[in-house]
Subunit: 293 residues, 2 copies
């Protein structure tokens, strides 16, 4: 029951009409019996400053920030977490008495989504497709997970080089390289690198017949394939890996756990999700996406 | 179920912690199956401009405006209803694609609250205590109801004179006068004026042993006593009138119908409340006030 002391949270983006965050965060609010409500706000880039001033003026407790505002929003905050300083992007704003702190929960969402597979990462080599904003958060998470080596491929080669440099210099990964597609021995690398991540939109609806992987035949049961895409629930990237016995994971849990981490920041409560409840939430979100499990 | 296309409405004021509007408006949203949610925002006067800019930037669909912002907010709108121009105050803002129109629904709330007693007003004389913001909205409503004569008493005599002038010149009441307390024949006027309105806070919790009426003995069964106060549900003003057989009404229905009128403006739907549902809502609101009926 909403009353005059109900906290307001929300997500800002453009567009936001298809955001899953309202469904997810209001489900958290319900499950954890929080006196809060979560809405979606379509905010134009040029209105970002007015939006954050409005957040201060109206006492809006917290905002998630999504595409295309994650980088630009940083300048409008009053305080930044170390993660935001390093990554240069924020997905969570918290309002404490008109003082706005910026946070980024995507790397924590990635880590928490791994479950038991987290143990694969310490000292490991990781092959990542993509060098955009999502890939940057993953690279930061990989450093936290103790990954030894990160190999990055992106169709924009200079972005891959830049992220590899940042992964070493700022995030602290021992060894990171950008692979130049025509020259790099991608097939050999794929054979020997057992953690493979897709941080590109390829394979996402409506490109669901596409995959970044050119040599699926080298995939074995030792491989772990992680796709940040969650719509469709099983991309061609994941399907071809599963067919060869690999362990697979899509991006839905990362989305869930980055959102949960934002809610923890706003409420300062250690909200925990049981396996059964997590499954319920996955079903609700997949249903909203129009996906059968 | 809140989703990404759920509209956000709310109330701004300072304080707003005890506002009944969130309870009431979310009840309307539920009853009328609207895809919307309504929150309360405590906004400082000096932040009013940032709040309205934020409303534009975030696409907040509508705001109710309460004390102390009703007059000051007018300057921040882009367009004004005739009522707002005449009264100089607004209690409702509507956002149409970033364009903010200002409205005042209090007079409509007063009129709709009258029910069958509306017929008492055409051509009648009305005795009103109070000349503040609420009294102004009532005076405007009285003009619309076809009242012939309005007599105003206020402890601040110059405010009563000002409102009486405005009632004639701007609102179009044929005859309006401010009564100067020590000289005016208040007892005689009360005897012969059968509609008596309290638009002062006197009698409101925690002044519930007070009343503006000095001569309750002249009250008869022909009188109609209307108190804008709704907490307590029956003020001394109403109790003393009821004891003498008068018809009485408190301010709860005016609050309800001004809110409903705002929701009609925002949704552009002709929302109608049955007598039974109105009773349910009164109970819910009285319960929140801690009042037994």
């Amino acid at each position: 029951m909403i009353n005059a002391s109900t906290a307001l949270y929300g997500v800002i983006g453009d567009p936001v009409a298809h955001s899953l965050s309202p469904t997810m965060q209001n489900w958290f609010i319900d499950q954890f019996h929080l006196n809060a409500v979560y809405a979606a706000f379509r905010v134009k880039s040029e209105k970002l400053g007015s939006c954050i001033d409005g957040m201060r003026a109206m006492g809006i407790g917290g905002l998630n920030v999504t595409v295309p505002h994650k980088e630009k929003v940083v300048a409008f905050a009053d305080e930044w977490s170390d993660d935001v300083r390093l990554i240069g992007a924020a997905n969570t704003l918290k309002n404490t008495g008109g003082f706005i702190s910026a946070h980024v929960t995507d790397p924590y969402g990635f880590i928490e989504s791994l479950g038991d597979n987290e143990q694969r990462f310490r000292g490991a080599s990781v092959f990542m497709y993509g060098a955009g904003g999502a890939a940057k958060s993953v690279a930061y998470a990989l450093a936290k997970l103790g990954v030894d080596q990160l190999l990055i491929v992106d169709s924009a080669a200079e972005k891959a080089v830049e992220l590899a440099e940042q992964a070493v210099k700022s995030f602290g990964i021992k060894n990171a390289s950008a692979l130049q597609k025509p020259l790099a021995p991608v097939k050999t690398i794929l054979t020997h690198t057992h953690i493979v991540i897709n941080a590109t939109p390829l394979g996402m609806h409506p490109w669901h017949d596409k995959t970044v992987v050119e040599y699926p035949d080298v995939i074995t049961a030792d491989h772990y394939f992680y796709d940040l895409v969650y719509n469709p629930g099983k991309t061609r990237f994941l399907r071809e890996a599963e067919e060869r016995g690999a362990t697979i994971q899509n991006g839905l849990d990362m989305l869930i756990f980055q959102g949960l981490q934002s809610m923890r920041l706003w409420t300062e409560q250690p909200l925990a999700l049981s396996a059964a409840r997590l499954n319920d939430l996955r079903s609700i979100m997949n249903r909203q996406l129009g996906l059968n499990e």
